[in-house]
Symmetry: C2
Subunit: 325 residues, 2 copies
């Protein structure tokens, strides 16, 4: 199914994205010369992530794995080789063991060829793992904001250490928690990947993976309040006077109507806590097939990070223009 | 739920869209002076339609009804009054009896105030009704392309008769068929609006409404082929050498991965028929809450219509920039 999806994607977005010959990777076209590349990658099934974010102001390339499976290291290496200008490459991936293993291997091979390659691993999922042990946190929809910031820095011709610094600070500043009422159904399977009884939801789910605890369904406002409380106390805690970018993300089958209702409560809750909102996103940014649920991401921003988030971008599934105020 | 959604929507897109004081209608802000307005409206539950398309290059205002219910005529009148520059207003709505009744009433009231108001009714659903009796066809996702064309013409300061002509030609050129494996579940209800047995799909569904016949589930390629055949023979038939814009639209719970797989087959099928594809869209443009299904729209384009579809637009849920080739 991934090959057929890629064929459909390339047909739809011809002239903006091309596929490498020797690897299952999509590259923005044309690519501006003489600057650092930002490359991501991971399993499929999360569309419009990752491939929908290949384009100016976002990532330069996405290496595409099978459904919920890491792409091979050889494909990552090929994506580095095919795009490297000599200015270096930042690999910016979610914290999944297969992805970390394969991307680190590819980075090592590329360094042996004399290329400058760095990796940053996105660990925004505060629903799983512990706040102080980043290794146990997965990468969720907060990755979109990290790619956005790093991609904007690359478009401004920042150096590899500078872009890596931006990504590192964005990762430290991003926190996500996800809930779901129904898991996704993998093609070829007759049933969802895990069962959630009617009237219950799972708290702290991943993109297709189960949560950390199960709760009774309650009013959306109460659920959002619980999610915000969890986000705000996560390390480092968000304090009154802080400023965030918010992202309410549908996991695949959740109506936009419900996402906007969740955003409404999120905004009200943050306002009560005197946490300012710099900019908000609502939509299906990072899904898990037809999983029925949503996530909330808060990204603490200083003026530099806010400015990078505000920058223009023009990828197949995310276009933002800088508007005169 | 609609009020809460609107609050969340306005919070997310503050500075781009405002709500009228005397009516449940959203208006683009700022609105350019001295040109014709294009206004749409209808029931909620179809997000990102209709409100996500309020902005430069698309519609100037959307009048927002309750869930799957028409907005009152008084709100439509207020939207006309609040945006009218004296150059006139085109109301561009889907073919649902409540909407047609209320928008026609509002148009009549507005004309009595001396305003120039015209209506065009979108009838792209060739799954329902008969090809020759447009009154029996509903308005489906093809409406997006009609708004796009008319909105682009308005942005170029065309006259009301010119824009109405564009809309009229786009409506005649747009054809959509939709299929679904599961109806949507209306908030407050425990079950989907209609039941589709496991292993079957409904052909010719509306946005939340049942289809015209039920079939066994088969391979996506076969289903797409059947949909294309139905679209191509619909009046007026598409012939080899023709040129179309395509839109594969998710109805709410269908993964992007599946939509791109459907697009792949659509493109191959059109290629075999020697029907050219000018531009393609794939995504969730016009949903019915969490309905599990998708639609295919073909819009026959001449060079004028193609140029209007290609024009830039900048609404909350649709941004397109004109790229240098």
């Amino acid at each position: 199914v991934v090959e057929e999806m890629l064929e459909g994607f390339l047909g739809t977005h011809a002239g903006r994205v091309r596929r490498l010959e020797g690897a299952r990777a999509l590259v923005a076209t044309p690519l501006p010369s003489g600057r650092v590349r930002v490359i991501t990658g991971g399993g499929s099934g999360h569309e419009p992530a990752l491939l929908g974010y290949v384009g100016p102001g976002l990532v330069d390339a996405a290496v595409v794995g099978d459904l919920f499976a890491s792409p091979p290291a050889a494909d990552v290496l090929e994506a580095i080789r095919a795009t490297d200008t000599g200015a270096g490459t930042l690999l910016l991936i979610g914290n999944y063991s297969g992805d970390v293993l394969n991307f680190e291997m590819a980075a090592e091979w590329a360094r042996q060829e004399g290329r400058a390659v760095e990796i940053e691993v996105i660990t925004d999922d505060v629903g799983a793992g512990t706040p102080h042990d980043l290794g146990t946190r997965r990468g969720l929809a907060g990755g979109f904001l990290v790619w956005k910031a790093a991609g904007a820095a690359a478009a401004r011709k920042a150096s590899l250490p500078q872009i890596r610094g931006v990504a590192h600070r964005a990762i430290a500043a991003a926190r996500t928690v996800a809930v779901a009422a129904r898991a996704c159904t993998v093609p070829g399977s007759a049933h969802p990947s895990f069962a959630v009884p009617m009237g219950e939801i799972e708290f702290g789910v991943g993109h297709g993976e189960r949560g950390v605890r199960r709760e009774r369904v309650r009013r959306v406002d109460d659920l959002v309040d619980e999610m915000v409380e969890h986000l705000v106390v996560s390390d480092p805690p968000l304090r009154p006077g802080g400023r965030v970018v918010t992202l309410v993300n549908g996991l695949g089958a959740t109506p936009f109507l419900e996402l906007y209702i969740a955003h409404r409560r999120l905004a009200g809750n943050l306002d009560e806590r005197r946490i300012g909102v710099h900019r908000s996103y609502v939509g299906a940014f990072y899904t898990a097939l037809d999983m029925d649920g949503f996530s909330i991401t808060l990204l603490s921003v200083d003026s530099e990070l806010a400015d990078l988030i505000d920058a223009s971008a023009n990828a197949p599934h995310f276009v933002q223009t800088v508007q005169a105020q």
